[in-house]
């Protein structure tokens, strides 16, 4: 067990996409309770630095495993598929066209200050993502089909980004409403 131990081992969780979030949270708090720098305020410089490194690592691990997209990327990374490193993969045209349509709809709603339309888009995207995560779970945990899982995860990276943009657009509209 050192700073390079993988996050599943660190939190003693099975290396699966279907994750017990409450177990993660409990393990996280337990370990943080041992290594957090607040426990080492009276210690010497080196011990304090070590505590900070451990606490940072535990925080990073929790964040990585908590979010489904990050968790999927991490599982693939452990299986030898580093999606961050191969950023410029070409996506198939049908998916790209679908992406463009989503984006256009979002932009239109945004420019038209159409809160309702944005919410609808958000909801649709939400449904779409939920289905894709279910499929991804099967690919990763049941079939262990890494190439197919990597492919699906790449798509999810696009879609999650889109979701963030719609979130931001919704937030911007809400903020305008306050003055």
């Amino acid at each position: 067990m050192d700073l390079t131990t993988d996050f599943f081992t660190l939190f003693q969780l099975p290396r699966l996409f279907r994750l017990d979030l409450s177990a993660l949270e409990a393990r996280y708090l337990e370990i943080q309770g041992e290594v957090h720098p607040d426990r080492f305020v009276q210690a010497d410089e080196r011990a304090r630095r070590q505590a900070a490194q451990w606490a940072a690592r535990v925080n990073e691990g929790c964040l990585t495993l908590k979010k489904p997209l990050e968790r999927a990327k991490y599982l693939l990374f452990l299986a030898g598929h580093d999606l961050e490193a191969e950023r410029n993969t070409v996506m198939e045209p049908a998916f790209l066209i679908e992406q463009m349509e989503w984006r256009e709809a979002a932009e239109e709603a945004r420019n038209g200050r159409d809160h309702h339309a944005l919410e609808r888009l958000h909801h649709r995207l939400h449904q779409d993502l939920a289905g894709r995560y279910r499929a991804l779970a099967a690919l990763l945990d049941d079939q262990r089909d890494w190439p197919a899982a990597a492919h699906e995860t790449r798509r999810l990276m696009f879609l999650e980004k889109l979701r963030l943009e719609i979130d931001d657009a919704l937030a911007a509209l809400e903020d305008e409403g306050i003055y």
Binding site: R39, R57, A130
Partner: protein, 642 residues
């Protein structure tokens, strides 16, 4: 590595004595110092019985410095040498300061931050704040009967790296050992949470004299977890005063004012504001230097109107924090009100309207931050009361990143990341034979570097010439538990590492601090030397005790030869502690630290393993199965909860 953790419950050696530790709320308007006595947090009063220390510093003609009420009396008659609200200048350049033109000071642009020219010379906000902290420290030492082990100093949650670094420097300059910089709303949450045994999601709305913070926390037994924070480090009661000030100028059609007149009107503006909290209207009477008298009446309605958008700005911050925490208003169980400015009825009303529930006002809004800080200080130094123990998880308020091509920012650590946090990213060269790379560290949310705050610039030199794109430069960001950032860079392909660690450019170097410390002590050298020796002796003693305790507990992690070497190092250090040669003492400490390095690693390992112990393979498998069954349907929701 619990090696040096003296407070560890099972390392109970001698029944340890109570360590003198305090919490200091270094406020824009008021400073408070508090401590825990017999299990109770209490604010320490001055000799006259005042709990508050006005955060006002005056440089007197006789070369002395006065702080607090005495200084406050001189605000209008000696405005250039009497500094108020210095917190607003911490880590700030002149252009960052709001309404700089209406302030009576002679500002001087200085390295990293603005300075003020006074009759005692040019003073940095760090030095001025240190004067306040020195008084707080003296008050604490008088009450507690001796030197402090350390202090928790509070900062607004929304303070950026430069402001935090400046605060820490000020504390060190005041001779305080900073146990931790603690976010003000978090401190308030600790005080509130412990007092009321609160559990669930809470918001802390803190509107003080100069700053606004909103934090969303999850309180559970033994855990205080900040989910998101937001605010404005330049929005507070001062701005409400400023609005009244402008209103007075307008109503009375005043020409440009002298610093004395301006300060006087500002003081009257504040009085009127506070009066309006309990009355429908406030008279404002001012006699100017030219004998002209101004008589005006400000009613509550007008006041609410001219400050409406200040209140709206705070709610904007509340919304953003809730969004960042991925929560809705309805999820919030209670809103804890902190800071003197939350007394204003329009603020109470706005918060109540927004959350659709009455805010929680059952704590003294002036004291709660200091009390929470004292409680945390008490925990950090290991004075446990009744088995009380908790874990505090806080976040950074603003994203940290690097400048990339085209003046764009690349975020390495996002806002609201739990600290400590670390993140490394690789960059490469873009020209053939490029041997240096400029690294520009920024903080903020905007896309363009120009819109973010520049924290530090440095250059990594000595990269061996390679074709473009071949070098692998790994930049590492590390944020510690005080929310302070350290950055280092290293070229990966060559075995030789070129690495540099920077402190953000607003921070003072240790040498500068040492220099200032020396300057500030009148009988300089001797005192400083003696103090340094004493500090080293205390530190050495602590090291010896901790190592011995660790040996007693975990000797099984070492072989005989290792134990012998450590014991020899302890013996050597024990001799040096009795002597008066600081240099030899420090070297002996280094030696002991060196000998225990591997031991510390093994102990850390053991701690982590212990935390994970008691889990059998079956258990892990059971978790897996459960995950399989239960999560299959929940997956639908979870995908979106990310």
């Amino acid at each position: 590595m619990a090696l040096f953790q003296i407070s560890e419950p099972n390392a109970s050696a001698a029944p340890h004595q109570h360590r003198r530790a305090v919490g200091i709320d270094l406020g824009t308007t008021h400073t408070l110092v508090a401590t825990v006595k017999s299990g109770m947090a209490l604010v320490l009063n001055d000799a006259q019985g005042h709990p508050l220390l006005p955060s006002v510093v005056r440089y007197q003609p006789d070369g002395q410095t006065e702080v607090g009420y005495a200084a406050q009396n001189w605000l209008a008659s000696d405005p250039k040498n009497t500094v108020l609200s210095v917190k607003r200048f911490m880590g700030r350049g002149r252009k960052d300061i709001a309404h700089v033109e209406s302030l009576p000071y002679d500002f001087v642009e200085g390295a990293g931050m603005v300075r003020v020219r006074t009759r005692a010379g040019v003073k940095s906000p760090v030095e001025i704040s240190a004067e306040i902290l020195k008084v707080a420290r003296a008050r604490a030492e008088a009450h507690l009967g001796g030197e402090l082990v350390g202090a928790v100093i509070t900062v607004p949650a929304y303070f950026d790296d430069a402001q935090r670094q400046a605060t820490k420097d000020a504390a060190r300059l005041a001779g305080l050992n900073v146990l931790r910089l603690l976010n003000e709303p978090t401190a308030a949450a600790i005080a509130y949470g412990l007092e009321n045994a609160a559990e669930g999601i809470y918001a802390v709305y803190d509107l003080g004299g100069g700053t606004f913070d909103i934090s969303i926390l999850k309180l559970a037994r033994g855990v205080f977890e900040v989910l998101a924070t937001g605010g404005d480090s330049a929005l507070g009661g001062d701005d409400f005063d400023q609005r009244i000030f402008c209103w007075v100028l307008e109503q009375a059609e005043l020409p440009p004012l002298s610093p004395e007149d301006a300060r006087l009107i500002m003081t009257r503006a504040r009085e009127a504001k506070e009066f309006l909290t309990h009355h429908a209207e406030a008279p404002i009477t001012v006699r100017l230097a030219n004998n002209r008298t101004i008589d005006l009446t400000l009613d509550a309605h007008t006041f609410a109107e001219i400050t409406r958008n200040l209140v709206a700005r705070t709610l904007q911050g509340v919304k953003k924090a809730l969004r960042d925490a991925r929560l809705a208003k309805a999820d919030v169980k209670g809103v804890v009100m902190v800071g003197g400015s939350t007394r204003m009825p329009q603020v109470q009303q706005a918060v109540a309207d927004f959350f659709q529930s009455a805010p929680l006002n059952n704590l003294d809004p002036d004291k709660v931050v200091a009390l929470g800080a004292a409680t945390q200080a008490n925990l950090l130094v290991g004075n446990k009361t009744g088995g009380d123990d908790w874990l505090l998880l806080d976040v950074i308020p603003l994203s940290l990143g690097l400048e990339t091509m085209g003046g764009l920012t690349e975020k390495l650590i996002p806002r609201n990341a739990t600290i400590p946090a670390a993140r490394a990213q690789e960059f490469t060269t873009f020209r053939d034979g490029q041997t240096a790379m400029a690294i520009h560290v920024v903080q903020g949310e905007r896309e363009l570097v120009a819109d973010c705050r520049s924290l530090a610039r440095f250059e990594l030199r000595g990269i061996p010439p390679m074709v473009a794109g071949a070098a692998r430069i790994r930049v590492t960001f590390q944020v510690d538990a005080d929310g302070l950032l350290a950055v280092s860079a290293r070229e990966q392909t060559t075995g030789v590492a070129a690495a540099i660690t920077v402190k953000p450019s607003y921070g003072l170097s240790d040498d500068e601090i040492a220099g200032m410390l020396k300057d500030s002590v009148s009988h300089a050298r001797d005192d400083a030397q003696r103090r340094a020796l004493k500090e080293a002796q205390v530190e050495a003693q602590r090291l010896i005790e901790a190592t011995q305790a660790a040996l007693k507990e975990d000797a099984h992690l070492l072989d005989k030869a290792e134990i012998a070497r450590i014991e020899a190092a302890i013996a050597k250090l024990q001799t040096q502690v009795l002597g008066d040669n600081r240099r030899h003492l420090t070297l002996a400490m280094d030696d002991l630290a060196f000998e225990t390095q591997a031991f510390a690693h093994r102990r850390m390992d053991q701690s982590v393993k212990r935390a994970l112990a008691g889990r059998t393979v079956e258990e892990v498998n059971a978790i897996a199965e459960r995950a399989g069954e239960e999560r299959r349907e929940e997956k639908t929701n979870e995908g979106s909860a990310a």
